[in-house]
């Protein structure tokens, strides 16, 4: 699914949060969105689904294939969401329904959009759980019984269960350990690459970014400050904002026992 955002403005209660943002994602493309926290990343991702709070005002254009999201009817958007567009929310604790078991939650998009028997659903949910690295038994648990990382993976499984054609992942790996992170990122990239879907990936972790995306946008206070191939942006940031982020990332990169292994060097490899 191709995505084209143009002249997007979002304001809440008179404060502008996103100003004149433009970004595009082609079919089969994995695009990153980075920026300091509070720069408006989550807002943009929510706007793409028509999920902004009621008091937000949106203008501009968001095209998902040939569907205009801004001002679209709820019914049409609902058809889209969960079926063609899968979303991972930033805060799993606040979005996983506390009265639904994990299995029900993950199976929800299937139930809403596809005519499957219960057994088929259970089976698919089980398979999906395995893909995100969770045991099958977890399906009968409630969100509050899970650790932070487990919750996050449930959120990811929900987003991916219908093999959507466009994935919005808002910091999907924050609560994950490095091994799970890797597993999830690989899962996402393979889904996109194999199925020809597209993905918007929001993260603060540049090693994840480098692995997960081919192109990225840098957001600064609601404006797109820079864009380009991920490797290039990381290697050679052009704006002060990107520069600041990248240099900070370097200083925080894990040094192996025998010396300094730079993020730069790392990203050069790919």
């Amino acid at each position: 699914m191709s995505v084209a955002v143009e002249g997007l403005n979002i304001a809440i209660g008179g404060t502008t949060i996103v100003a004149d943002a433009a970004l595009s994602i082609a079919d089969g493309e994995r695009v990153g969105l980075i920026g300091s926290s509070g720069s408006g990343k989550s807002m943009i991702s929510k706007a793409m689904l028509g999920l902004l709070p009621l008091n937000a005002t949106v203008s501009g254009s968001i095209m998902l294939d040939d569907m205009q999201v801004v001002g679209a009817a709820e019914r049409e958007l609902a058809d889209l969401r969960g079926r063609y567009v899968g979303t991972v929310f930033q805060n799993p604790a606040a979005s996983l329904n506390p009265v639904m078991t994990v299995g029900q939650q993950i199976g929800l998009p299937l139930k809403l959009h596809y005519d499957l028997t219960k057994d088929e659903r259970v089976e698919r949910v089980g398979a999906m759980l395995a893909k995100v690295g969770l045991a099958k038994e977890i399906a009968v648990k409630y969100p509050h019984e899970l650790s932070g990382g487990q919750q996050q993976r449930v959120g990811i499984a929900t987003a991916l269960i219908t093999s959507p054609r466009f994935i919005i992942a808002d910091e999907p790996t924050t609560a994950l350990d490095s091994m799970s992170q890797r597993q999830i990122v690989d899962l996402l990239t393979s889904l996109v690459d194999d199925a020809g879907a597209s993905m918007l990936f929001i993260t603060h972790d540049f090693s994840v970014l480098a692995r997960a995306t081919t192109r990225c946008y840098v957001l600064e206070s609601g404006r797109i400050a820079e864009s380009g191939a991920t490797a290039e942006v990381l290697a050679d940031p052009k704006t002060p904002e990107s520069e600041r982020l990248v240099s900070a990332a370097r200083s925080l990169t894990l040094r192996s026992a025998d010396g300094f292994q730079s993020a730069k060097g790392d990203s050069h490899e790919r």
């Binding site: 920026g35 604790a93 609560a175 490095s178 480098a210 925080l252």
Partner: protein, 282 residues
């Protein structure tokens, strides 16, 4: 002084009720329990940062909650400055008075009806006497704490949590945890949603805190400023390397490895740790 452990957990076992599908309302008797921590021991010394790492679901959050007395273990002891931490004990009171915590989920740990300023300054008011500063210093200290985590106090003091982004909320929670010069900070993945630039700044702040600089409390025996300790749960090994003095590696509720940072990261003894490290250098 620094040899003495500030907070120590010994042989902690903990379990959760294990609910499975087929239990009805009228099943009597005890629910089976699933153990999530097995004989876990860990300790942290003043001036040190202890990092707890491990795969997701390995029991890190549970351990930290138990260490702070927010949850009870099935067995094992917690000692704070030599005093036992138990329900109603002097040790627990001391621990509570001198520690602070950053939760994994930032939003639910901020009172939705409090401004950022109020949330951040509350611990100050709570410990104003003990720290011995004047009322009119509170606002200044609050602003300072916010600035230290990279939030502009002028724009954020009056905000409410529902208007914050994930990273902003997390930073407010950190500001709240550091504002009253606690002797012990427990941070459960404190920087997961924070951008890297801010992370660096916060880590510097943490280091500053660990060094005891700016700490008002003075150790009566040495005359030196009291050095606090930090227990940090993190997935980000880069961050861990940056700040931790020692590391405990948890795997499915068991300690697989613990030791000084350089030793654990540089020369991991267990396969598990090695895998974690390998996966981190993507």
């Amino acid at each position: 002084m620094s040899d003495e452990s500030l907070l120590a957990a010994r042989n902690i076992n903990a379990s959760f009720m294990d609910r499975n599908m087929h239990r009805g309302l009228f099943d009597f008797g005890r629910m089976p329990r699933r153990q999530v921590l097995f004989d876990v021991s860990a300790e942290v010394r003043a001036g040190e940062c202890l990092a707890v790492i491990g795969a997701s679901g390995s029991g890190k959050t549970t351990l930290t909650r138990i260490m702070l007395g927010l949850a009870a273990a099935d067995s094992g002891q917690i000692e704070y400055r030599g005093a036992e931490v138990r329900r109603g004990s002097e040790g627990l009171r001391a621990l509570r008075a001198e520690s602070s915590i950053v939760f994994q989920d930032p939003f639910s740990s901020l009172d939705p009806r409090w401004t950022v300023e109020r949330s951040v300054s509350e611990p100050l008011w709570l410990r104003r006497r003990a720290l011995g500063f004047a009322t009119d210093e509170v606002a200044g200290k609050t602003a300072q704490a916010l600035a230290r985590v990279g939030l502009d106090p002028r724009t954020f003091m009056g905000r409410y949590p529902c208007d914050l982004s994930g990273g902003q909320a997390q930073r407010v929670a950190i500001a709240r945890a550091i504002v009253n010069e606690p002797r012990l900070i427990l941070a459960d993945e404190p920087m997961s949603a924070i951008d890297v630039a801010a992370r660096v700044q916060i880590l510097e702040t943490f280091q500053l805190i660990l060094s005891g600089a700016g700490s008002r409390a003075v150790d009566p025996t040495t005359g030196q400023p009291v050095k606090p300790a930090i227990i940090m749960v993190s997935h980000d090994l880069g961050v861990v390397q940056h700040i931790a003095n020692r590391i405990v590696v948890l795997r499915e509720g068991k300690v697989v490895e613990s030791g000084a940072t350089e030793a654990v990261l540089g020369d991991p003894q267990s396969d598990y740790t090695r895998q974690l490290i390998a996966a981190a250098s993507l």
